[in-house]
């Protein structure tokens, strides 16, 4: 089954890199949607069926932890796994993300292999890895 992924990051550069990296993983992906902050992502979730969310933490308007908390308090969205992809490597932020229900955590800078490894449990593989 093909999956829809939502990438949430205020950096267009990171969104483009993740688009490329995700396509290279061999995972079975239908569409990679994008949002520039937590608010925009919540709007996207209202209108689009999403199977996995990758989100930054430091973003304007609504940061990644606020977005994660909002998602997990929503009956429609709380089942969607959320992987944090962020420069925030401190134990406090990681612990907060886990407490709020994050399914995984990847530190920037990241390699394609790290992304692939982290997402392996969430998405089906379309091609032999």
């Amino acid at each position: 089954m093909e999956s829809d992924i939502l990438v949430v990051d205020d950096s267009a550069a990171i969104r483009k890199i993740l688009q490329r990296v995700l396509r290279q993983t061999g995972m079975s992906i239908r569409t990679i949607h994008e949002a520039g902050d937590g608010q925009e992502a919540l709007e996207k979730l209202k209108t689009t069926t999403i199977d996995l969310v990758l989100t930054d933490i430091n973003m304007p308007k609504m940061d990644g932890l606020q977005f994660l908390a909002a998602m997990k308090s929503s009956a429609e969205c709380r089942h969607i796994p959320v992987v944090m992809i962020t420069t925030e490597g401190g134990e406090t932020k990681v612990a907060e993300a886990v407490r709020l229900g994050a399914a995984g955590y990847v530190r920037k800078p990241f390699t394609a292999d790290q992304i692939k490894e982290k997402l392996a449990g969430f998405l089906e593989t379309a091609l032999p890895l």
Binding site: D10, S11, A12, A13, I14, K16, I17, R20, N58, M59, P60, T87, E88, G89, G90, T92, K108, P109, F110, T111
Partner: protein, 175 residues
């Protein structure tokens, strides 16, 4: 270890890791210097990102337009010949990742630090100056002959007295 040594080590490690991982480029680290006083005129691309907590300061990257385009081209795997929104965004993200790495290294010693959203400026003959006259640690990184200056300044903020017990007593930071 002195705070200055910690900053230099961390900046060098973070920059090398970000260039290696995100751009597949090995950069050469130049000699670190300190900078204080009246700022020099700048041409090119300069970014800033704020650090705040018990210690507060700023991280900054500066490079030529050619270097900025080269960074963006390598990062996004697209040809960039002029400074545009993509190039500025790539430099902003590079700043976020390098100074974010420094922040993570410093937190065990200085307590939790917040990181702002980066700002990037592109222009000619402009000056930048931080309030407070703090000393900047400046390390150049070279990709072939193109240079990128990475700078950090950090001073103890008013909150630091309340935070003093968090500091590791085995880490001899000179303030």
């Amino acid at each position: 270890m002195k705070l200055e040594e910690l900053l230099i080590d961390s900046l060098t490690r973070a920059a090398a890791q970000v260039f290696s991982t995100m751009l597949d480029v090995q950069v050469r680290c130049g000699s670190t210097s300190t900078e204080r006083g009246l700022p020099q005129a700048n041409d090119g691309v300069v970014s800033f990102i704020g650090l705040a907590g018990a210690w507060a300061g700023t991280g900054s990257l500066a490079c030529s337009p050619v270097m900025a385009c080269r960074i963006c081209s390598q990062m996004l795997m697209t040809e960039q010949t002029a400074v545009n929104e993509d190039v500025l965004d790539a430099v902003a993200e590079l700043t976020n990742m390098i100074i974010g790495g420094v922040k993570t290294d410093l937190e065990p010693h200085l307590g939790q630090l917040g990181l702002s959203i980066p700002t990037v400026i592109f222009g000619r003959n402009f000056k930048t100056k931080g309030a407070g006259g703090a000393e900047w640690i400046v390390t150049p990184f070279f990709w072939d002959e193109d240079a990128l200056l990475a700078k950090v300044c950090l001073t103890r903020s008013e909150k630091s007295l309340a935070h003093a017990t968090v500091l590791d007593p085995t880490c001899h930071l000179d303030f």
